[in-house]
Structures are given as structure tokens and as C-alpha cells.
Amino acid sequence: MKTGFILGTLVLVALIFLYEWPRINRTQKKEKIVFIALLSLGTILAIVLILNPDLPGPTQMIDYIYKPLGRMLGK
């Protein structure tokens, strides 16, 4: 099951890459670096999330910071 999801993610990433890469101008070096960086960040995050779905996320972090205020609203 998990290998399937990982394969699916890789296919999706490959499709994004194949679609977008030829469209970036050869002169836009910085864009290429950012594109690759963001895409690999996404891939790594996706694989981590597939292997460990209960990873505490951004919502938990924000909830932790704002909890004292949130308690004001009760419950």
C-alpha cells in the first residue's frame, strides 16, 4: 500500500517536472534552482508523510502557540 503511494507520488512529481522543465527559459537559472528545490522539498515531505502519517503538523504547532487564547472560547 505504502509503496504504491510512494510510486504514485514519484509519478506525479515526474509529470510536474516533465511539464514544467521545458517551459523554463534557459537563461532563468534562479527559477530552475527554486523549481527543483520546491519540488524536492515536496517529494521529501510527501514520502515522510506517507511513511509516518501521524507526524505532528503545522496545525498542532499553531494550536500549541495559541492555546491560552483559544481556551477563552471554551471547551
Binding site: 510536474i16 515531505l45 510527501a46 499553531i62 471547551k75
Partner: protein
């Protein structure tokens, strides 16, 4: 400047109207009702003050730095390092909030219509569609808004009219049984939605008729306030005290519509409205996020990063909550403070510093001249 398109002030107002109400009409009545009970129709009025304030702050900042948007002028105001830090906070905020919006959409569609479709697929398709809209630029999103909003308003009015036979005005009484506090407490949650008006900080530099921008921003706030109050009143009249128990009260209220035995199951229209509205909402957030990221990294074009950011959005929407209960709990407890502090708190501080800097530099110039 990365974005070359121009929108009119009217388009900006219309765009923001739909952006705010798209998720607000569906989720907010229940969360408001939990705090405000039968006074829930009052809450949007209190909440709108923060909407006016947010528009005012965004317009004031825009007047100080007419050609720039938030990511660019925060650097001018706070200096290179702190400015970049504020920009990063905003980018993370928009990534997270867009993820939550997409999750709300996915849960709604999977929970009420496409029961057997995987959540990831539903969310992935809306992101794909939105990424095409974002790719076309701001002008296209503006024109889309002009096309969708009249339909949405007419549909909301028709639904409200069709609900009249099921309404029970007595549900509203006693008005302010426990004083103002419950309605004020209930206003905290819509406030979170009203602060989303700060998105105009990303749109203002591309508005062609700038002197009208403030007027249309304010009109948009009033329109959102009226829509939310009317929806809250209608839901309250139909469902009464039960409102807080539903996840999507507006949807459940519409299920009551049954005219002469053949005009039934109109909730499909609500769903259609909602898909259209959320499509625009996600597109606007997505646009702000992609444009902001490109400016933060000093790129010359934002189009190459649309799909990678969309992929991240999909991941954040999955990551942001493990189920719908957790999501609505977050929306009802910490999220309003989160949204208010970032979309109103930080800009307010920026505005004060910017004003103070302007004044300091002006008085310095005065000294040299004198």
C-alpha cells in the same frame, strides 16, 4: 514587476467578497452558534469592525508604498533581515491556511456528495484547476470573479426566499438574553474570516483605478457582513437551537426546502455554489502565495513555481488535520486568534513603524532645510 495584468477596483471588491463568504457561509454559522446561541445573527456586525480596520490598514500601507505589495514593502519598512522574516511568516501562513481551505472543501465534498472518492483525489483536482487559473494571471481571476459572483448572489437570494415557509421567527427570542457577551464571543470566529481582507495587500498594486480601491474594499466588507447576517438569520430561523450541532448548518437548512412536493433536494445547488466559490477562494490564496514566494526569492517569473507550490498545498491540506472534527475544533478555538494576529496584528505594527519612519525622515529633512 512580475505581474503585468491590471484589475479594476470593482473586480477587486467582488473577488474579495466571494473569497470571504465562500467558506464562511458553510462553516461559520455552526461555530458562531456554539458561542452566541440565538444572538448569532448579531455576530457578523461586531466582526465586521475588524474587516473595516483590516481594509484601512492595507490601504494606508498601500498609499505609503504605492507600487509594492506586502512582501516587498515589509523589507523597506523593517530592513532586509526582519522584512524577509515577516515575509516568510506570511508565506507560511498562506500555505497553511490555503491547505486548511482545501481540506474544508475536500471534507465537504467527500462527506456529503462523493462518498466513495478518495479525499486526495478531490483535493488534487481542485488544486489542478486552480493552478491553471493562477497561471493565467490576476486579470483572469478577476474576470472569473465577475462571472461567478452575480450567480452566487442570486442563488443565495433564491435559497433565502425558498426557505421563508420553514422559518420560525420565535427562534430568535429572547434577544440578548445574557447581554452582549455571547454575541461578542461568537464574533471572534467570523473576525478570523474578515481579516482575510488583508489579501488585498497583494492585489492593490495591480488595481488600475486606485482612488476607488478603498471605497470598493469597504463596500465588499459591508456586503460580506450583510450576507453573513442574512445566512445566520435564515439558519437560525429554520434550525433554531440545533444549529450548533450541525457541521454545515446552511446545507442542512436548505434540505428543509420542499415546495409543492416537487422542488426538493436543492442542496445540490448549495454544493455547486460552494464549489464555484471555493474555486475562486483557493485561486486567490494560491495566487497570493505563488506571487509572494516569487517576490520573496526575487524571481523574474512566478509561473515555474506554480505546480511545485500546488504539490506542497496538497501535502499541507493532508497534513493540517487528521479528520474533520480536529479541523472544526481548530477553526473554533485557536484559528481566529492565529488569523487575526497575523493578518491584522503584523500589518498594524508595520503601519505604525512605516508612519513613524516617514515622520522621522520628514522632520530630519526639515532640520536640514531650516
Amino acid at each position: 514587476m512580475i505581474e503585468k495584468g491590471k484589475i479594476s477596483a470593482t473586480q477587486m471588491g467582488i473577488m474579495m467578497y466571494l473569497t470571504i463568504i465562500a467558506t464562511a457561509i458553510l462553516l461559520v454559522p455552526a461555530i458562531t452558534a456554539r458561542q452566541a446561541k440565538q444572538d448569532m445573527w448579531l455576530s457578523p456586525f461586531w466582526a465586521s469592525f475588524i474587516g473595516f480596520l483590516t481594509v484601512y490598514i492595507a490601504v494606508q500601507l498601500h498609499q505609503l508604498y504605492p507600487q509594492k505589495n506586502l512582501i516587498e514593502y515589509s523589507e523597506d519598512i523593517l530592513g532586509k533581515f526582519l522584512g524577509k522574516a515577516v515575509g516568510l511568516i506570511f508565506l507560511f501562513f498562506y500555505l497553511h491556511v490555503s491547505g486548511i481551505i482545501i481540506r474544508e472543501y475536500g471534507e465537504f465534498i467527500v462527506g456529503s456528495f462523493l462518498l466513495h472518492t478518495p479525499l486526495v483525489f478531490v483535493m488534487g483536482t481542485i488544486i489542478l484547476v486552480c493552478s491553471f487559473a493562477v497561471r493565467c494571471g490576476l486579470e483572469v481571476i478577476g474576470r472569473l470573479a465577475e462571472m461567478i459572483v452575480p450567480v452566487v448572489i442570486i442563488m443565495i437570494l433564491i435559497l433565502l426566499i425558498l426557505l421563508i415557509p420553514d422559518m420560525e421567527v420565535a427562534n430568535m427570542f429572547p434577544i440578548m438574553e445574557k447581554g452582549m457577551m455571547p454575541s461578542l464571543k461568537g464574533a471572534v470566529i467570523p473576525q478570523g474570516w474578515f481579516t482575510e481582507f488583508f489579501l488585498i495587500a497583494f492585489l492593490l498594486p495591480y488595481v488600475a483605478d486606485r482612488n476607488k480601491a478603498k471605497k470598493w474594499g469597504m463596500i465588499s466588507v459591508v456586503a460580506v457582513m450583510l450576507t453573513l447576517s442574512f445566512v445566520n438569520i435564515a439558519v437560525l430561523f429554520v434550525l433554531g437551537e440545533l444549529t450548533a450541532g450541525f457541521i454545515y448548518p446552511a446545507m442542512s437548512a436548505v434540505r428543509y426546502i420542499s415546495i409543492a412536493g416537487f422542488l426538493e433536494h436543492i442542496e445540490a445547488i448549495v454544493a455547486a455554489l460552494w464549489v464555484a466559490g471555493v474555486f475562486l477562494k483557493i485561486a486567490v490564496f494560491y495566487y497570493a502565495l505563488v506571487l509572494g514566494t516569487a517576490q520573496w526569492l526575487n524571481l523574474s517569473d512566478y509561473r515555474p513555481i506554480i505546480f511545485p507550490v500546488g504539490f506542497l498545498l496538497l501535502l499541507f491540506s493532508i497534513w493540517s488535520a487528521s479528520n474533520l472534527m480536529e479541523l472544526t475544533h481548530f477553526l473554533g478555538s485557536s484559528s481566529p486568534f492565529y488569523r487575526i494576529s497575523i493578518q491584522m496584528g503584523i500589518p498594524l505594527i508595520l503601519l505604525f513603524i512605516a508612519k513613524w519612519r516617514k515622520r522621522a525622515s520628514n522632520s530630519n529633512q526639515g532640520k536640514y532645510q531650516g
